[in-house]
């Protein structure tokens, strides 16, 4: 694609490209919003951004197009992915709305705003077209550089300050400085004794001989799961797989069979309670 072409006309090729990629971009955006899992959203967004990068190139903004791919898609989106990993890659949002009327209001606002924007653009007189031919004559990067280091030099310097501040800020926010000496194993044990709970180590996850994954809560003797057995991080993410129903069903079947064999009365069966749920 030559600069001339990009500057003056919108060729059929570009039109074709626009309609195809535009559709992709919109779908990507919609997926970003509506995917249940954050990691899927992130991937869709990355797709949209790459499409946008292509559009930048098509509009004669070569430098920005590359930067979009390298910085945005390559760096920023990856940062997002890291954080998603940290928070829990499989964590899925429930899309059920909790604030009354929020979704309707959001949709109305969104639609209204969109219609208004589109109407505004349609109304605007944007007939004239200059193209970037002259501006990009000495090359896009050189043109940008000339502007950045002359007209926008102050703003540029300030963005530098901003970036440094942001970097420092991120470190300050995420870095946790240990303000006191780490407790020794002995002290921890004494603390546990003092507090009077969980004197022994926490129980291991997994159901013996059936499931041994770390995200499956171990079962208590009555068949209910104990969340204590699952790693704290997983617990925080809500990534606990619950197999207690199966276990309880098994237990029930066993009881049933035993009862039939022993011909015991209905109401003499031991009551099965999900103690942990009741306690919540």
């Amino acid at each position: 694609m030559s600069p001339q072409l990009a500057a003056y006309t919108t060729s059929t090729g570009e039109a074709f490209q626009f309609w195809v990629l535009g559709t992709v971009a919109v779908i990507g955006a919609l997926c970003t919003v509506f995917m249940k899992k954050a990691v899927h959203s992130a991937l869709c967004l990355a797709g949209t951004m790459i499409v946008l990068a292509v559009f930048y190139l098509a509009n004669g903004a070569y430098f920005l197009g590359i930067v979009q791919i390298v910085v945005y898609t390559g760096a920023i989106m990856m940062l997002f992915l890291f954080v998603v990993m940290l928070v829990g890659v499989t964590a899925a949002d429930s899309l059920k709305e909790t604030i009354k009327g929020q979704r309707w209001l959001a949709l109305v606002c969104g639609l209204g705003f969109g219609v208004l924007l589109l109407a505004g653009i349609a109304n605007a007189s944007l007939k004239d077209f200059n193209g970037l031919g002259r501006a990009n004559a000495n090359g896009n990067v050189e043109g940008l550089a000339a502007l950045i280091f002359t007209k926008y030099v102050f703003a540029f310097e300030i963005t530098g300050v901003l970036l440094i501040t942001a970097a420092v800020g991120a470190m300050v926010l995420t870095h946790r400085e240990r303000t006191e000496r780490a407790k020794t194993q002995r002290e921890l044990a004494e603390q546990r004794v003092r507090e009077g709970k969980h004197l022994p180590p926490l129980p291991a996850p997994g159901v013996y001989a059936r499931h041994n994954a770390v995200d499956i809560a171990g079962l208590l003797p009555d068949g209910t799961p104990s969340e204590l057995t699952v790693n704290k991080t997983l617990r925080d993410r809500g990534q606990i797989r619950d197999v207690s129903d199966e276990a309880i069903a098994d237990l029930k079947a066993l009881e049933q069979r035993a009862a039939e064999r022993l011909e015991r009365a209905e109401d003499e069966r031991p009551a099965l309670k999900r103690t942990e749920e009741a306690s919540k």
Partner: protein, 631 residues
């Protein structure tokens, strides 16, 4: 010589400043400083008098311009003094009687720890009174007018620890303020009518002004005079003012200040002459007051209050005379001067009696005092004879002239006014004889006070008796001195103007009638009080007596209508201010609070809710922008 005029005022003013700011260091000599400066002022007055006598009758008015006081465009008030025969008469009366009373007070107030302050107030009074009579315009007169009111307030309430004294002082000031309102409205009227309120231009322009305006001005001046001179309907303060020390009653509430109203009317003669309706009102006020005061005087057992009633009545005579116009002005002033002598003498005598009687004021507890205090008895007796108009003494000459002038008014009015004046003379004789007999004759009736101290009546010290003697001389001879050869008339005529009155009956008949009623009045009193013992506890008395004891119910009226009504009004206004005026504002605040309480529920704390509001707001803004563009 004109420069002395300012010094006339400056001397007592300096005295007041020194004595009031000087502090306790001056306690030992304060009273002498005060007396000395009052005397100095009298000396200046005498010098000016001598100077004035040396000039031709028509060139005796001198003015002294000190400085421009309030210069605002169109409104020029200057501090200018005017000394003419009228002012001169007052200057001599004020400084003369004033100095004597200063002297008297040295003895009278000897045991009062605040004597220095008392003299400071007295000096302040002298300065203000002199300013009043020397002012060349009404506004400056107003300063003196309120100045004497202030001095009167301070002196009536001198014994402030007595609640009755403090109340009396406040009452005097307030009632006077009502009168002052009249004076200030009069000045405002003058300003809008004449564009000035200096005596000269106002009097000169009177001829070119409508009678209605002039009547309004005159009536407002009359209101002022009523307040200051205790005329009906603003008379109620004078009786209570007797709470002050007796020298104060003598100087302020008998001789000088209360006569300021008469001065004002006579001074504004030009205005009153052009407003006959107002003059009629003046005479009516005078006649009513002279009877009112006399009746009140008959019923009082407190010697000072009896004398206060008498003062009111005598000033009624003066106001009556002043209301008669040019036929009465001179006599009003003449009676004012002679009254100044004999009433001051009477009050000083009363003070002397009280001094000897442990400050007892109830005449029913006196009796037979002539043996114990002979000088007081003689001077008081001469004053008594003068006031009832005993032939040959001062009061005879001045009062007789007024009665004649009242008859000379002519027509029915003349008969009514003259008759009232004649009746007043009879009552005067009655109540003064009553005072005389109850105090100095009969059996002694005094009793030990609550601490068991029996009073030991004794003659007062020299510093008190000398002024009484001097004033007694004045009471005896002043009238004659003024009347022989119409000296006073000729002296004052250039200022006030004079017109010979022609009574419907001859002057001799009027004089004769006056003497007859005098004897009748005195005779009745003698029969009632001289022939039988006076009860120590006042009998219940007739309805009129009881009403007169209560100042003819005027105070009750004031209390019920003004005091109670005022209290209710202020209380309900305070309530209204709190509930209605403040309530509206507080109610607005409360309803805003309620509304915001409801609006607060929209603030559910969820960030996304706020985001919706922002986004919606942005949408509205875009819509508005588009709409504006479209329109």
């Amino acid at each position: 010589m004109e420069n002395l005029i300012a010094l006339l005022i400056a001397a007592p003013l300096l005295g007041a400043a020194v004595l009031l700011c000087g502090g306790r260091r001056l306690d030992a000599v304060g009273h002498w400083i005060g007396t000395l400066l009052a005397g100095l002022s009298f000396v200046f007055g005498a010098l000016l008098f001598a100077d004035m006598l040396g000039k031709a009758a028509d060139h005796r008015t001198v003015t002294q311009h000190l400085f421009s006081w309030i210069p605002v465009s169109g409104f020029q008030a200057d501090v200018t003094f005017r000394l003419d025969q009228l002012s001169m008469t007052f200057v001599l009366l004020i400084t003369g009687v004033g100095s004597l009373i200063h002297l008297y007070s040295v003895g009278y107030m000897e045991h009062d720890e605040r004597r220095r302050r008392f003299f400071g107030y007295l000096n302040l009074f002298l300065a203000a009174m002199l300013l009043l009579v020397l002012a060349d315009n009404y506004l400056l007169l107003y300063v003196g007018w309120e100045g004497v009111g202030l001095a009167s307030y301070l002196l009536i309430g001198f014994w402030q620890h007595k609640p009755s004294a403090a109340t009396a002082a406040k009452k005097a000031f307030l009632v006077n303020r009502v009168g002052d309102m009249g004076l200030s409205i009069a000045i405002m009227l003058m300003f809008t009518t004449f564009g000035t309120f200096a005596f000269g231009p106002v009097f000169a322009d009177v001829s070119g002004t409508g009678e209605g305006k002039l009547t309004a001005i005159a009536l407002m001046l009359l209101l002022a005079a009523c307040g200051k001179s205790a005329q009906v309907p603003l008379q109620s303060w004078l009786g209570d003012a007797m709470e002050g020390p007796t020298p104060v009653s003598a100087l302020i509430h008998a001789a000088t200040m209360v006569t300021a109203g008469v001065y004002l009317i006579v001074r504004s003669g030009a205005v009153f002459n052009a407003a006959p309706d107002a003059q009629l009102v003046v005479t009516v006020v005078g006649a009513v007051t002279l009877l009112f005061g006399a009746i009140v005087g008959c019923a009082k057992d407190d010697i000072k209050k009896a004398l206060a009633g008498s003062t009111m009545s005598q000033i009624g005579y003066m106001v009556l005379a002043a209301g008669l116009g040019p036929i009465g002005y001179v006599f009003a002033i003449m009676h004012l001067v002679t009254h100044g002598f004999f009433k001051a003498g009477l009050f000083l005598g009363a003070g002397s009696v009280m001094h000897g009687m442990n400050d007892e004021v109830d005449m029913r507890k006196y009796g037979g005092l002539r043996k114990y205090m002979p000088v007081t008895f003689v001077t008081f007796g001469l004053g008594y004879l003068a006031i009832i108009g005993f032939p040959g003494l001062s009061g005879f000459f001045s009062k007789d002239k007024i009665i004649e002038a009242a008859f000379a008014k002519g027509g029915t009015e003349g008969w009514i006014l003259g008759g009232a004046a004649l009746l007043g003379a009879a009552i005067t004789a009655y109540y003064m004889t009553r005072v005389m007999i109850m105090t100095f004759f009969g059996e002694k009736r005094w009793q030990p006070d609550e601490h068991g101290h029996e009073p030991h009546p004794h003659e007062s010290p020299k510093s008190m008796t000398i002024p009484m003697i001097v004033l007694a001389f004045g009471s005896v001879f002043a009238g004659g001195l003024f009347s022989f050869g119409d000296r006073f008339l000729h002296w004052l005529e250039p200022v006030t103007g004079h017109q010979e009155g022609h009574p419907p009956v001859s002057a001799a008949v009027v004089t004769g009638a006056t003497l007859v009623v005098l004897l009748v009045g005195a005779g009745i009193a003698y029969v009632q009080y001289g022939r039988r013992p006076v009860p120590v506890v006042a009998p219940r008395g007739s309805l009129l007596t009881r009403a007169a004891r209560r100042d003819l119910l005027q105070d009750d009226f004031n209390h019920v209508v003004l005091v109670r009504g005022g209290e209710h009004l202020t209380r309900s206004l305070v309530y209204m201010d709190h509930t209605v005026v403040d309530g509206v504002v507080n109610g607005t605040a409360a309803s805003v609070g309620g509304l915001s309480g409801r609006l607060r529920r929209l603030q559910n704390g969820y960030a996304r809710s706020y985001a919706v509001s922002m986004f919606g707001g942005a949408a509205v803004l875009v819509a508005l922008t588009l709409l504006m563009r479209a329109v």
